[in-house]
Symmetry: C2
Subunit: 97 residues, 2 copies
């Protein structure tokens, strides 16, 4: 593996740490991990008490980093955790949140 990929990996790890340093995003990730399957944004909102636009903002951050993925069905959006991707970068992290 060359140095550029190492730098890329390091940057991704730092972004994951950034994501998890915010209480709201931390809760979102924990919730998704503990339920073990995708959740509707609305459903998430019921468990994590934050304004819907703030929620949307955090979900976008998580999506852009690569931590979550989104699936649209009708007028609902389902958010899922990219467990394997995170696990590849920082093994064991999720299980110790």
């Amino acid at each position: 593996m060359d140095i550029k990929q190492l730098d890329k990996k390091t940057e991704l790890k730092q972004r994951i740490f950034f994501a998890l340093s915010d209480p709201g995003r931390y809760k979102i990730v924990c919730m998704l991990y503990s339920v073990g399957h995708e959740m509707g944004c609305n459903e998430l909102n019921q468990h994590v008490e934050i304004d819907k636009s703030t929620m949307s903002y955090h979900l976008r951050t998580l999506r852009e980093i690569g931590i979550t993925s989104t699936r649209t069905q009708g007028r609902q959006k389902y958010v899922s955790l990219n467990k394997d991707w995170i696990e590849t970068l920082i093994p064991g992290l999720l299980s110790h949140l």
Copy 2:
């Protein structure tokens, strides 16, 4: 373990993530972990290229979170990584930086 301690632990984890989300602090922690022993601030400065006052600022942040400890000897200060403490909170984290 009661809920207050859980919250305290969660807060500490989030602070560790915050610390590691900054490139400078990430490098400091990696350096301390890889050398495996304490380092003088000056020595750290030679390896991690940041302004000395910025370095001091980051070292204070790390110290206040609990990630590092400092020992003064003469006019030198030695920084060491609180490996065990971090390992207790987030097992395996350091080895995957």
